[in-house]
Structures are given as C-alpha cells and as structure tokens.
C-alpha cells in the first residue's frame, strides 16, 4: 500500500490533528515505507482465527452499581487550561449568526 499526502491530510482531519504541509509529505513517505511490513499481514493464513481484542480471558467485567466517591470538582479543575466557576471553559462551539 502506498499512503499519499492526501490520505494523511484526510486522516489528520478525522483525528483532529493539525499537520503542516511538510509534515503531511514526510508522513506520507514514512508511512508508505512502514506499510511494507504491515502489508505482509495479508500473506498470513488466518481463516479460522478469531479477532483477539484482549490477551486475557476475563471477557466483560461487571460490578455492582454502587455510588463511590469521585473527584472533587476543584481537583478535577486543577489542570484546566481555562475555567469559569466550576466549569471548563472553551472557545465557542456553536455558529452564531
């Protein structure tokens, strides 16, 4: 597989990751190189194999739905880049006409 600059740009939008033109070109080149080893996966016969998500046999883990103490709001806000009262503050999220 060859990964193009356009692929990288598309992925960067999906991943909300701003990349410069130079980064896009460089990553396209490097990822095309890396894809040489990744493409070798197609050679493997995995017909009877299941997809293995976790290397453990625990499966889904349930617990009782009991209320436990959670973070203190002041602590939770202690690393906030910006805040107002007891809220995280961000630039606008809605279009204003």
């Amino acid at each position: 597989m060859s990964i193009t600059k356009e692929d990288v740009e598309r992925m960067s939008i999906l991943a909300r990751l701003e990349l410069s033109e130079d980064e896009q070109s460089l990553f396209a080149e490097q990822l095309s190189e890396i894809s040489r080893i990744i493409d070798s996966l197609a050679e493997v016969d995995t017909e009877d194999m299941d997809e293995m998500i976790f290397p453990s046999e625990l499966g889904n883990v349930f617990r009782e739905d009991t209320v436990l103490p959670s973070a203190d709001p002041e602590e939770a806000l202690s690393n906030a880049p910006d805040r107002e009262d007891r809220f995280f503050k961000v630039p606008r999220i809605l279009e204003v006409d």
């Binding site: 692929d7 293995m52 976790f54 453990s56 625990l58 883990v61 690393n79 906030a80």
Partner: protein, 513 residues
C-alpha cells in the same frame, strides 16, 4: 544470606551503584543506616551525574527527604518497618503521582500535575518506598531509544554516545547509574525489556492484568503493562510482589491468588524444559548478540535445563500486527488530549474544533502524530478488516502458537534485542529501523505472557547484552526461577559502568555506614 552480605559491608563504604533493595532494606530495618542518609546519598548522586545521563525529568528531592525523615522518626519511635521502608524508587513519567508533575515526556502535558496516584505508586508508598523522581521516556512511551522525549534525550551510562533504549530509558539508566535503587517502567512492545537489555539490568513485563494499569497514561490498552526495573532478579521479585494483585480500578485486572515471588528464587533448573524459537535467530540478529545468546544456552544446559529448538512461524508477523494494533489503540487513547480539561491549549483559535486540532498539532511530537495518523488509517472503514481485523487475527495465531509451545516447554528464551545499544541519532531518521529494535519483545505483548530481560554478556566494547525469558501467562514463577538460576551462575549483573569518569566532582558513589 542477605544478612551476611550486609554485615560484610559494615565499616566499608556502601557503593550506591551496587546497592540492591534486598541488601538495603535489612540495613534500614536494623538501623545501620538511616533512611535520610540513603535518600540524601541518592540525591547527591543525581546532582553529581544526572546532568550527563539525564535520566530524570523531575527530581522530587525535598519531598523525598521529608518522607525519609518521617520514616526515620517512625522507626526511632519503635514502629515496625514496612516491607519497602526507605527504598528509593524512580517512576517512569507516564505513571501518575499525586502532586508530582507527570509529563509522559510530552509538551502536551508539560504542566500536568495529577491529583491522584496510580495504583502501583500507591502500593509502593503504602509499603514505605520513597519516590525519588520521574524518569524520562519516549513521548507517551512511543519509541525505543528515549530520543522521542520532548524534553531531552537520556544517555546510556555505559557509553554517553549511545541511547539507553526505550521507552523506559530514564528508568533503566537511573538504576544502573545508582541514581535510584529500583524503578518502575511500562512496556507496550518491549519498553521495559529492551532498555533493561541496553543498560545491563533486569526488567520484567508481567502477564497482562497482573499489575494494575490504573494511573498509567494509556498508549495501547490491550498491550500496556507496568513492571519492575532492578539490578538483580531478587529485587525484581520483591518489587513485582509489591505492585501485583487485583485492583478493581483496572477492568482487566487479574483476580487470582498470587504466590510470594521471592519464594520461587531457587537456583535450580534441573530438568526444566527451555525452548528456543528458531525465529528468534533470524538474519536480523547481530553476531555479538548471537554469540552471547549461544553461550547463555550452554550455561542453561550446564545448569541442567533441557534446551530444545521450537518453531513459531507466526512470530515473524508479530511486529506488523503489533504496529497496526498499537497505532490503532493509540489513535483512540490519545483522543482524550483535546486541550479542554488538562494539558496544552493552543491560542489563536476562536472555535473549539480548531482549538483542539491546533492544540494536538502543537502539543504532540512527530512520532506520536505519525502513529495517530497510521492508527486512524488502519481503523478507517475501507481499511479496517484488511489491516486492523487481520492484525487481531494474527494476534490469535501468535497466542495459539505460544500456548502450543508451552505445552512442551516450561519457558522460552531468546535475545531481548537484535543489537546492543546503538548510537544516538543513528535511527531517528528512519522509523522502520527503530521499530525493528523491538522485533523480539513484541510477541509477549500480543499474547499477554510475561517476559523478563536479564544481563547475559557484554560485547567487545563493553556494552551489555540481554537474555529474554518468557513463560506461560501468570507463570511468573517459572520465569523468575530460570532468571535467578542463570544470574546466580554468572557474573554479568555485577559489572558496573564507570560513571565517575564523566564528572570532575565526586560522584557521590559511596556512602559510609
């Protein structure tokens, strides 16, 4: 035995870079040395040599001394010493420490101070260990040389021109340089074992779920592990015992009963069946590492182990599966770094979507961005089955191959890494070259089985070489027993780098008791 070793030292200076936890702890318990003396000596050592090694991102000197004084006061008051009372440990900087900056070596988290401890940190503190500081790593643990740190690269204490390995390079360097007695690292594809090999120490990646990941800044959750990095196998067993065990805060935590790991340290492997996967001796293996490995096999046979060659064809596809799965999981895990609740926020945007994309673009380094792009690519609808699905099926195959081999073998051995520590800058331009350094360490992460690297030789330039031992899931006992028997029959773990030559001032290498 421990008592004798300690008593032999009485009246002679205690060399920090030879100090083991199992020797130090009884001395503290018997009040032959105060905790404050130990911590002060370690801090002195750090201030004398760390400007050359650069193992630490943050040194918690004041807090460590305060804790040391508190411990001494408690001991003086007749309180019994806790199991790790006064033990100076270093913590990799992607493991959260309450009130102590935790950066993951990323610009994004440069100013981040967690308000809670990771479970492993809480357990170490509860047992009396003292956190000396936070060690350098490749940003978010993505790398094999610690050169991807956004802070600075760490140097290999055996040769400052070379890398210490990675991503737990700071932890490995701190231990061999005598800047900590023990350290914690994390391992997603070899990040404990490969730097342990490059720095000549013991590094263990436990079975998946044996040690809680709560408070570890996640990279690839299905392969992330925390484990000990120590000067010898006994310390490794000691620290593993202190941090292992069920934790309700980690949904994949292993709920079973655990043994006392120090009890399996019996130097007897007569009749133990040791498999050598022939795929570990491929064309990528350097001559010097091969020679040292072959000698290690002779030694294991001499000790009574039965060495057999095995074949696991799926191993050759492990690295490909690993990069697909780890990048996919990373792209998902790192979505949390959005500049909203903590970490870096870019300025100059007037809407939130742009703010997030800019913050991530400015806050992450190149390797992290590259893996996010690759991860997003293999998870995209048109590629999902071809790459991600296929990688997960290959993972099943690797796990099945391990299971079958462990039906006939008690453990498997191989070299930890194809080469000794390489020179700084040698592989930074070519990510693929760098990835190949992990080729022998990724299979245990895919399968969730334990692996340990122990010193097994030195090349002609004096650089350490590591032997990797692997065992069945949750059979850390077989692993430690084989590692201990090998270590006790060899001298490699006793050799030390000459740190003193790097500094004009006294390097704080000795402490009189």
């Amino acid at each position: 035995m421990v008592r004798e070793a300690a008593e032999d030292r009485r009246g002679t200076p205690l060399r920090l870079n030879e100090l083991k936890a199992h020797e130090l702890l009884p001395m503290i318990r018997r009040k032959e040395v105060s905790v404050e003396e130990v911590v002060a000596a370690i801090l002195h050592r750090i201030s004398a040599i760390d400007s050359k090694i650069r193992a630490y991102i943050t040194v918690a000197g004041e807090e460590a001394l305060k804790k040391a004084k508190e411990a001494d006061a408690r001991l003086a008051g007749g309180e019994p010493a806790r199991p790790l009372e006064g033990l100076p440990v270093a913590i990799k900087d992607n493991i959260c420490t309450q009130g102590l900056r935790t950066t993951a070596a990323s610009r994004f988290l440069e100013g981040f101070t967690p308000f809670y401890d990771a479970t492993v940190v809480e357990r170490l503190k509860d047992k009396g260990a003292i956190i000396i500081g936070k060690t350098n790593l490749d940003e978010f643990a993505m790398g094999s040389s610690t050169e991807n740190s956004a802070m600075f690269p760490t140097r290999n204490p055996w040769d400052l021109k070379r890398v210490p390995g990675g991503s737990s390079g700071g932890s490995a360097a701190s231990v061999i340089a005598g800047e900590a007695v023990c350290a914690l690292g994390s391992d997603t594809g070899g990040s404990i074992r490969q730097p342990a090999s490059f720095c000549g120490i013991v590094g263990l990646k436990p079975s998946y779920g044996l040690v809680s990941r709560y408070g570890l800044i996640g990279y690839a959750s299905s392969m992330d592990h925390i484990g000990p990095m120590t000067r010898d196998v006994r310390d490794c067993a000691l620290i593993l015992g202190a941090i292992a065990g069920y934790d309700s805060k980690d949904s994949q935590s292993y709920p079973g009963e655990l043994p006392d790991y120090t009890e399996c340290l019996v130097p007897d492997i007569k009749g133990m069946k040791v498999g050598v996967p022939k795929e570990y001796l491929d064309e990528g293996l350097s001559g010097t590492v091969r020679d040292a490995f072959m000698k290690a096999l002779d030694k294991l046979e001499e000790l009574g182990a039965k060495v057999v060659e095995v074949s696991m064809p799926s191993l050759k596809h492990s690295l490909a599966a690993y990069y697909v799965i780890s990048s996919a999981e990373a792209s998902s895990n790192l979505a949390r770094f959005d500049g909203v609740r903590y970490g870096y926020r870019a300025t100059g945007s007037d809407d939130s979507m742009t703010m997030m994309a800019m913050s991530r673009g400015e806050g992450f380094g190149p390797e992290v961005k590259r893996r996010i792009v690759l991860g997003t690519y293999v998870l995209s609808a048109e590629n999902y089955d071809k790459y991600f699905g296929e990688a997960l099926r290959v993972r099943s195959l690797v796990t099945r191959d391990f299971r079958e081999v462990f039906e006939v073998c008690d453990c498997l051995v191989g070299p930890t890494s194809p080469t000794v520590a390489f020179e700084a800058g040698e592989k930074t331009r070519d990510p693929l070259e760098m990835y190949l350094s992990d080729v022998y360490t990724v299979p245990p992460n895919l399968a969730g089985i334990p692996g340990v690297s122990i010193p097994c030789g030195f090349d002609e330039e004096g650089m350490p070489i590591g032997l990797q031992i692997m065992a069945r899931q949750y059979n850390e006992e077989a692993l430690l027993r084989a590692a201990y028997a090998f270590e006790q029959a060899t001298e490699f773990h006793k050799r030390n780098p000459e740190i003193e030559k790097y500094t004009k001032e006294p390097a704080g290498g000795e402490m009189s008791v």
